[in-house]
């Protein structure tokens, strides 16, 4: 998309340069101010058409006339984000860019603005034949996010795998030449636990790719009600050990189409997380319902919660909110991304509502399928009921 915008940007820049080079400054001024006294000439029509085209773009375009201070802004440039104070900051950055281009002929910068999450805006300026200045504003938040996710993934993956490998190497090194049985025993135990950790990470990574490439051939109709009962009962022991109450409420017929074992592992992951991040004495509740044609399952805890800046990123592979704590609890850093993959593969959605210190609710929506009909009766119109 970025390349397309850039091309469109270059094309419009060329078009504007061409038009402006042929017209007098006065004409440009008239067109920019849209004066009603201007007769309906071809000149004006072509400008109006051009401006309509520019209004259609998602990239903000500002054309400033050197001599008159009149500025044209396309629709996207007027309300870039819809957040007033951010739009004012963009406006200011555009004015600064115009001044910079006046002196240096060209310019480019990235504006960073915090509004809930951080927005990144690329602002570019060009001088067109010394007649006017063109500034484009492009929202590159999504693009830069993908870049961050990719670089973070590689860095985190190597870190996650290197840590246990390094530990195993160091422990084995100490083991060589160690004669005291008790120490040997202890070192061997640590080697086993580090190897298990490594195996868990590799297993989880394999799970992820399996889910991505698994087809829908083996899918069957699955009733989520007994799935949730199974998930809750297998996690009941862990919950009790931490002094946490785990409850299940909801509907009895929750039919979806999918892979039962994947669904069990997905819900189990969420319940496991909810228990892990609750304080002793807390409550974790799993509730299910049918809303419209969707099966909705909500897993709520009253634990530490997740801040807004992390909420967007917790489903990324190896992303950790609190690195020290989540490693201590034995997580692989892949749990939530596996859950998200499973839900998306099943045509559903997952969302999180959370507040730090208050708790989190993960809500999963999956398309409902009607229970297998045993007595299919034709209706009067001949269609199946």
């Amino acid at each position: 998309m970025g390349v397309v915008y850039f091309l469109v940007g270059v094309l419009t820049a060329t078009a504007i340069a061409f038009l402006f080079s042929k017209r007098s400054t006065r004409e440009i001024q008239r067109a920019l101010t849209n004066e009603s006294s201007v007769t309906k000439s071809n000149t004006r029509d072509s400008f109006v058409q051009l401006f309509e085209i520019l209004d259609f773009l998602e990239t903000g375009v500002v054309v400033a006339d050197n001599n008159t201070n009149h500025k044209f802004r396309n629709k996207a440039a007027i309300a870039m984000t819809g957040i007033r104070y951010v739009d004012i900051l963009i406006d200011q950055a555009v004015d600064e860019m115009i001044r910079q281009v006046e002196h240096e002929g060209t310019g480019s910068r990235i504006l960073e603005a915090v509004a809930g999450t951080t927005r990144f805006l690329q602002i570019r300026g060009h001088n067109l034949n010394n007649e006017c200045i063109l500034v484009t504003v492009e929202d590159i938040t999504a693009k830069s996010r993908i870049e961050t996710v990719q670089t973070d993934f590689v860095a985190n993956l190597s870190h996650e795998l290197k840590t246990p490998i390094g530990a195993v190497a160091a422990l084995a090194d100490s083991l060589v030449g160690e004669t005291e049985t008790e120490v040997v025993w202890r070192l061997a135990e640590r080697i086993v636990s580090e190897s298990h950790r490594m195996a868990r990470i590799v297993d989880a990574l394999l799970d992820l790719s399996r889910i991505e490439f698994s087809g829908t051939e083996d899918w069957t109709q699955v009733d989520l009600a007994p799935v949730l009962v199974e998930v809750v009962s297998t996690n009941q022991h862990a919950a009790k050990r931490q002094g946490i109450g785990l409850s299940l409420t909801g509907a009895s017929q929750l039919n979806v189409l999918g892979d039962r074992s994947q669904l069990v592992s997905g819900f189990s992951n969420l319940v496991d997380n909810a228990i892990k991040y609750s304080e002793p004495g807390g409550i974790v509740s799993v509730s299910s319902s049918i809303v419209g044609d969707e099966v909705v399952v909500a897993i709520t805890d009253y634990g530490i919660g997740i801040s807004k800046q992390h909420q967007d990123r917790i489903f990324e592979r190896f992303y950790r909110v609190d690195k020290a704590r989540s490693r201590a609890t034995g997580g692989t850093g892949l749990g939530l991304s596996i859950v998200r993959h499973i839900v998306l593969e099943h045509g559903g959605t997952i969302e999180v509502v959370s507040e730090e210190g208050v708790g989190s609710t993960f809500t999963i929506r999956l398309p409902q399928v009607l229970p297998e009909l045993t007595n299919v009766l034709p209706s009067k119109t001949g269609a199946l009921i």
């Binding site: 104070y85 951010v86 915090v114 509004a115 801040s307 800046q309 730090e356 210190g357």
Partner: protein, 243 residues
């Protein structure tokens, strides 16, 4: 626009535009500082501390522009109120930006310490509310909306109640040994910064009301004082009140 006083109106427009821009920078810096505080982002803290110099310079330039308008253009009535109010607002914005810097400095002081999730939650809420206050205040200023400006005071009382809730939470977290004393004290001060930012937003909104209607916040108090001492000059009025 009055073509005879074109320069004057251009200057006044420029001053108003700069207030709006300074307000936008300030509003953006509030959630930014909170993210810095909660994530222990020392680099970000450094950036905001340094950015404050530019903010100071801009508000000083804004004041200078207003003085120039007063000296050279001798505005009256609504225009005079506008210029006087902008001088005062520049000070409020500058002070609020200092408070944002103070939040960043507190982030440096408590770097490396864990903050109890309950406290983090209330800090986020206070930050959101302080940001909302400035967003609304600046909108009221931009739109010359006295009714919107008058509502800011009530919005601020929610921030005040969050502040009280936060102090209560600090005591609880400290007694449960979830935070140590140094962090507790720093966080109590941080909460105060947010609360003060809200107060400055209220002050800006009062200046907006003054621009639109000539309303002076202190009038009731002044009249009470005059009645108490038996001042023969009668009720306090400001000649600027007529449009």
């Amino acid at each position: 626009m009055d073509e005879i006083r074109k320069d004057f109106h251009n200057d006044l427009d420029a001053a108003r535009a700069e207030v709006i821009r300074l307000g936008a920078s300030l509003t953006e810096s509030i959630p930014r500082a909170t993210a810095i505080l909660l994530s222990g982002d020392l680099e970000g803290a450094d950036y905001l501390v340094q950015a404050d110099d530019e903010f100071d310079a801009r508000s000083a330039e804004l004041e200078a522009l207003c003085f120039e308008i007063l000296a050279l253009q001798a505005p009256v009535a609504a225009d005079l109120r506008q210029v006087i109010a902008i001088i005062k607002i520049a000070g409020e914005l500058e002070r609020s930006a200092d408070l944002v810097v103070n939040i960043c400095k507190a982030a440096r002081r408590i770097y490396g310490h864990n903050i109890d999730p309950m406290l983090r939650g209330v800090i986020s809420k206070m930050s959101e509310q302080a940001q909302k206050l400035f967003e609304s205040t600046m909108e009221a200023f931009e739109e010359n909306d006295a009714a919107k400006a008058a509502a800011i005071d009530d919005m601020d009382s929610y921030l005040d109640s969050l502040h009280r809730q936060f102090i209560q939470q600090i005591f609880e977290s400290h007694s449960n040994s979830k935070i140590d004393l140094q962090v507790a004290v720093q966080l109590a001060v941080v909460a105060r910064f947010y609360e003060r930012i809200g107060d400055h937003a209220v002050n800006v909104s009062e200046r907006t009301r003054f621009i639109v209607t000539g309303w002076v916040r202190e009038r009731d108090g002044i009249n009470r004082y005059k009645a108490r001492i038996g001042d023969p000059t009668g009720e306090f009025t400001l000649n600027l009140e007529q449009n």
